[in-house]
């Protein structure tokens, strides 16, 4: 336990030292920043974007923002969290610029109830069927395509909350919407994804 704690403190000290150097425009510090953090940032970008070219473009744009904004970094979040946020914002900007046509609507899959409030539309697809389908490698690629074809607002919250595992608060800040909207859009997005997966 002590060892874990001391490792964590050491990492924090190293990060603080790196930030100090970045703030005085130390070239070696910028080199370390790019080399130490780019893989993780690339992974975040790639989870949002369609291909490696877009992810690489995102990484470049993200670092341009980082180089410009580093002097505004206030240390109220960790450097990793701050970089993560900028990466997500850049990925979202690229996605918006691409303006992919998204035509799927939750209304197409809405639930219906009888006079007793009982469900009258339901799928026979059990969770087990989904599991069996998911075991196939090609299905994983199709699932990613499905997520990307969701309406942008649903796709974004699923990416941030369920896949990136950010908090509702952080998601709301990045997307510049209320926490209530995050919850609503996440729930609707999940329902839509569930319906698509069960077709």
């Amino acid at each position: 336990m002590e060892k874990i704690k001391s490792n964590s403190m050491l990492a924090q000290d190293q990060e603080n030292h790196l930030i100090d150097k970045l703030l005085v425009n130390d070239n070696k510090a910028f080199d370390r920043l790019v080399r130490n953090y780019s893989s993780k940032m690339y992974a975040v970008a790639r989870s949002f974007l369609h291909n490696d070219d877009d992810a690489q473009e995102c990484l470049q744009k993200t670092f341009v923002q980082v180089f410009i904004k580093i002097h505004t970094f206030r240390r109220d979040a960790s450097l990793s969290t701050w970089l993560h946020r900028i990466t997500v914002n850049c990925a979202l900007m690229i996605l918006r610029a691409q303006k992919k046509q998204r035509t799927i609507s939750l209304e197409d899959f809405s639930q219906h109830y009888n006079e007793y409030g009982e469900r009258t539309t339901f799928s026979d697809n059990s969770g087990n069927n989904l599991e069996q389908i998911f075991e196939r490698q090609e299905t994983k690629t199709v699932i990613n395509e499905m997520i990307r074809t969701l309406p942008e607002k649903y796709c974004n919250v699923i990416q941030l909350r369920d896949i990136q595992e950010l908090s509702t608060k952080d998601t709301a800040e990045i997307l510049e919407i209320s926490e209530a909207s995050v919850k609503t859009q996440l729930h609707r997005g999940r329902l839509l994804l569930k319906a698509i997966l069960e077709i």
Binding site: S39, R46, S126, G127, N144, L191
Partner: protein, 93 residues
Amino acid sequence: MLMIKRLMTQYVPGMLTCKDVDSFLYDFHEGQLSIAENLKFKLHLSMCRECKTYVQGYKNAIRISKEGVKTAEPIEKVPEELVQIILKSRIKK
């Protein structure tokens, strides 16, 4: 079972309908229901095959989307060429 469910939702106070289950689903998954609501939710699921399947499908959709993204695209090391382009962009700035 359908009749039992219908009678219970009609005559037992506080019993959830399928429609109620839908409105509680998000909070149930996020662990944000009160103890009483959580019990009512689970009681409904124990009586309702359709809702049980529906809730399971919701959970699976979340898990599958998460695992799909994580496993379909293994992350490789960022190419050195790209690192150099990024570092040069700072110097140009």
